[in-house]
């Protein structure tokens, strides 16, 4: 077998490792934290804070 055949197998294996990492971490995260915390991001928080501090713009 050529080195390129091994490279093909290595690419399949690495793809599986990266994919599994993401799926396992995703499931772990979803089961550890509540949905309220995970989806608590609100657009414009920074701007709202800036306004609250006296309306400084720049």
């Amino acid at each position: 077998m050529s080195i390129w055949n091994y490279a093909e197998y290595a690419a399949w294996a690495l793809s599986a490792v990266f994919g599994l990492y993401m799926v396992i971490d995703w499931l772990k995260t979803d089961s550890t934290y509540s949905e309220e915390v995970l989806t608590s991001s609100r657009e414009g928080e920074l701007e709202a804070m800036t306004e609250a501090q006296g309306g400084h713009h720049g």
């Binding site: 050529s2 990266f18 993401m22 995703w26 989806t39 657009e43 920074l46 709202a48």
Partner: protein, 479 residues
Amino acid sequence: MADFDIASKERDGMGPHGTNVGLLRVLGPAHVWALGVGIVLVGEYMGWNFAVGKGGAYAALVACWFAGILYTCVAMIDSEVTSTVAAAGGQYTQAKHIVGPLMAFNVGLYLVFAYTMLEAANAITAGYLISEVARLSGFEGTLDQRPFIILSIMFLAWLNYRGVLATLTFNLVITAIAFTAIIILFLSTTGIVGTSIMQHADLMSGSAALPYGWIGVLAAMHFGLWYYLGIEGTTQAAEEVRSPARALPFGTLAGIMTLLIAATLTWYVCTGLIPWEFLGDGLNGSVAPLFTAALLTNSQPLVWLLGVGTLFATLASANGCINDASRAWFSLGRDKYLPGWFGAVHPTFRTPYRSIVFLVPIALAFALKAPLDQVVTFSILSGLLNYTFMPLNMIMFRKKWPMGSITRGYEHPFHPLPSIVLLLLCAITFFAVFLGYGTQLVAMIAFYIVASLWFHFWRYRFVNRASQFTMPWPRPKGY
């Protein structure tokens, strides 16, 4: 904003209005540059040369200039609006604030499709490049490109999943190498260092000058976009930069300047070395023109450098596309334009992890099943619809919030001239696309009409209307 420490560790991305876990504000102007140029630079390495096939070398140069003007307008308009509407989602968030929900939904879809299709096209290209390396190194069998296509997408999605700082620092390094490779090729072949091997006079005279006349110049506009397509992606970093008002205009405008230089140098070197018939055939002729030019120099270091540059440009583009598509999808979810489940942020990595993972199988399906030219065309058309929205958005923005009514991070000059020029150039490009891909254009517009009907009659009832307008601006003029 100047008096507020937005890089504060204590309040970073977290505020008094309910955000427990937000995107991380860690990026600087260099990352914004790397995001914009990284997505685009692959267009210099391959793709732009189809413009040569449509109308010859001069037509490709005219397309390079006109598309350059189009994208300079895009960069200026984007810099002004996004430095003011500093939130993830880019043009989607701009549309939501300035035009309305239906426009915002459509723009969100344009963005996700344009970037996901481009990501798929880049992965196909990466697979092809690796098979070419195998062939050139003496491998006699047929390399299976699929594992390399999948690995490109999986590795970059994993990088994006793990954090935005590492993702865009990686993009910064590989984009800088790819850009430097173009400069070195230019210096080595044009006589600035060593002897010039340029043959413009021989290759561009007689019938080779404008082989299809002026209609060829018009047709070349379609692929002229390829020199710059994607620079508008810098806006997606708006919620993750430390100083939106400074970093976004600086990174975006530095990006378009870099691309204007790279596009001109690429055109000059390639048309001076490669006959237009071969250069313009991107399928059976010169697939990667800068690499072909390096091969013609007979210099082994240049061949290696441009080979690495081609692969790096491809990966940088796919990487930036994953970043941008996931931010647009995340923003649509956060506002309930799509299920709110997509609006989640990873508590450790502070990335929109569900959006990143959800888009992986879609990109894989297009990369493994769809033909490259169809994928690329769908990406270009979605991008073009986005560019058509931008000037209308800009005109409304200035009308509703005139100069002085809100603080802008950047104010673009000569308004409304850039908007009018952009609109005119978009109309010309739509006509050019219609000449070559009329069926796809009609099919895609039909798709967006159906999606709009679905949104209007069904999905809009779920939209979080209270969060439609989040910027602390005064009431718009006339309302």
